[in-house]
């Protein structure tokens, strides 16, 4: 996959199953965003194909795809002049006709999605008046209102503080466990990724793609090789990263 015919990532083959939470990690500029954009269908693949439930995404209509795959992007929507519930309502658009009229059912979905992310209390507030964490939850609610089996998120917790990151992580984990959604999220946060993911996709320094079992990763020494720095290591017993070289 890549841009204008030039491949940024090559030889990538993987499958994502229902009920899985997969974290995509890797240094910047190595192909994470490219991979996500190709999966979302925004970027055409240079060669090979993306199959959604066995069918190539190029063969299904944009609306059909929208009913299966929802996205959460890095755009914080800070300057959008819409109320939270209107933002979430756009998640129902794939199911609405040209005049986008919401049925009682649609309204119920919107409220339920907002409730799931604990954002029902600001459904009538303007996006511009919400905090980053609140806005991120509304954006997730929008993706939930789309009622899809797959959720793709691009660094959703990048600008959230620790407490909100944890809250968001629990939210996502519950969605994959309880609703059987397939969740693929890119992140830089290794510590969180190791705690919440079932599998980890890793793009290394040479833009090579690796599929890793999270549990095996935590038990083994591969993380040290991946870290590749004299300033830290992975402690498999205590299941945490440790900084080396601090003089305490």
């Amino acid at each position: 996959m890549g841009y204008n015919g030039t491949a940024v990532l090559s030889n990538v083959t993987f499958e994502v199953y229902a009920g899985e939470l997969i974290c995509l990690l890797g240094a910047n500029g190595k192909g994470k965003s490219t991979l996500l954009k190709t999966l979302m269908g925004i970027l055409p693949s240079v060669s090979g194909e993306v199959l959604l439930k066995g069918i190539s995404i190029n063969s299904i209509s944009a609306v059909e795809k929208a009913k299966e795959l929802a996205v959460v992007l890095t755009d914080s929507l800070r300057d959008v002049n819409m109320k939270a519930k209107d933002v979430v309502a756009t998640g129902r658009y794939p199911y609405l006709s040209w005049n986008a009229k919401l049925t009682i059912e649609d309204e119920a979905f919107i409220d339920a999605s907002l409730k799931k992310v604990s954002a029902l209390q600001f459904s009538n507030r303007w996006m511009t008046s919400l905090s980053d964490g609140e806005r991120q939850r509304v954006i997730l609610a929008r993706a939930l209102a789309q009622q899809t089996s797959i959720l793709v998120l691009d660094e959703p917790t990048a600008f959230l503080d620790l407490a909100h990151t944890m809250e968001f992580s629990v939210l996502l984990k519950n969605l994959s466990r309880e609703e059987g959604k397939s969740i693929l999220m890119s992140t830089h946060d290794w510590a969180t990724a190791l705690q919440i993911s079932d599998r980890i996709f890793w793009i290394d320094e040479d833009s090579c793609f690796h599929i890793l079992e999270t549990q095996k990763l935590k038990d083994g020494t591969l993380l040290n090789t991946m870290l590749n720095t004299p300033f830290g290591k992975w402690n498999a017993e205590l299941e945490r990263f440790e900084i080396i070289g601090l003089n305490t």
């Binding site: 979302m40 269908g41 925004i42 209509s61 944009a62 609306v63 059909e64 795809k65 929208a66 795959l69 929802a70 996205v71 992007l73 755009d75 929507l77 300057d79 959008v80 002049n81 819409m82 109320k83 209107d86 933002v87 756009t90 998640g91 658009y93 794939p94 609405l96 040209w98 005049n99 986008a100 303007w126 511009t128 789309q146």
Partner: protein, 330 residues
């Protein structure tokens, strides 16, 4: 739901009042009582009143209404499409094309025959529109389209400048007069062509509300809920292109209404759904155009002010006010 309909009806009522006021005010002031009498079949006290209304004031008022609506809705579409509150109907460079067309006619060929100005303006607009349509197929980003439109404006502005430099004062004056904008240059024949186009355009804009709402979240999100970017870009380009071309052809470039009215509506009504904002913006645009026309008529005085002076006079302070308000909240 009821509140929305009530609001629309109220606005329509205001529009009707302004429409009648615009017909009655001017150098010759026609009393309201006589107007109602005329509607009931009575004659006017002065025989010229009928001629003034039918051949001058009515076409002018209708032109103002539709031009105001078309420009305001075009402005709204541009602001939503480019997610930029400063966008207006002229960012695509369409009116610059019209300007160049008219400049070539008046300054280069220094002639004008019946309908020549609208034709020249339309041709100029059409050429720019074709360029923008072609570019929208080549460019993958809307920002690039925006920049192209602005660059076209600069180019045409430069060419017009050169033409003006080599022209006589009469030629320049006739061009400058065109540039000041006027609702009074249309005949019933022109209206028969113009009004259906504008009305259809407004209806089409309304029908694209869903896609427009999606675009408010940005193009990537819009795509993710099934909107075809290529299609909506093409549709908006054609729509705004045609609306602006027609208005500019018959009225000249009218400043500010396109940019300011959407903000006015958004400040008053806290809604982002285009199904609500498009009709409101259309009605408000018509009202504002009528108000500007009435002021330009300088009722009681023997002069007529150019429309663009009035619209800019209201527009600029409004933008400043909007900036202040926005910064206080944000």
């Amino acid at each position: 739901m009821n509140k929305a309909i009530l609001r629309l009806l109220l606005l329509a009522l205001v529009l009707l009042s302004l429409f009648i006021a615009d017909i009655l005010l001017g150098t010759v002031r026609i009393p309201l009582s006589e107007f109602f009498g005329f509607l009931n079949g009575a004659e006017f006290s002065h025989p010229s009143y009928e001629a003034i209304i039918l051949h001058y004031r009515l076409p002018k008022a209708l032109t103002a209404c539709f031009a105001g609506s078309a420009l305001a809705v075009s402005g709204l579409l541009m602001q939503s499409f480019f997610r930029n509150p400063l966008a207006g109907p002229y960012v695509l460079g369409i009116s610059s094309g019209a300007s160049l067309g008219v400049a070539l006619l008046l300054l280069f060929f220094s002639g004008s025959f019946l309908l020549s100005v609208p034709i020249a303006a339309s041709l100029g607009s059409f050429i720019v529109l074709v360029c923008m349509i072609w570019a929208s197929k080549k460019f993958n980003s809307s920002v690039s389209l925006l920049i192209l439109g602005l660059m076209i404006s600069y180019l045409t502005g430069a060419l017009v400048g050169v033409l003006q430099y080599f022209s006589s004062s009469e030629e320049i004056q006739s061009f400058v007069l065109w540039g000041m904008g006027s609702f009074a240059k249309t005949q019933w024949l022109d209206l028969k062509l113009m009004l259906p186009v504008l009305a259809l355009g407004l209806l089409f804009a309304y029908s694209r509300s869903k896609a427009l709402n999606s675009l408010l979240l940005g193009e990537s999100y819009a795509q993710s809920i099934g909107i075809s970017l290529k299609r909506i870009r093409r549709e908006i380009l054609y729509l705004v292109g045609i609306l602006v071309a027609w208005v500019t052809a018959y009225c000249g470039p009218i400043a500010f209404i396109g940019m300011a009215v959407p903000h006015l509506v958004r400040l008053g009504v806290e809604e982002s759904d285009h199904k609500t904002t498009i009709p409101l913006v259309a009605l408000t645009g018509a009202c504002i155009a009528l108000v500007c026309d009435m002021i330009a008529q300088a009722p009681g005085y023997d002069i007529v002010l150019p429309i663009n002076s009035i619209t800019s006079l209201f527009g600029a302070p409004f933008v400043i006010y909007y900036l202040l308000k926005k910064n206080r909240l944000g």
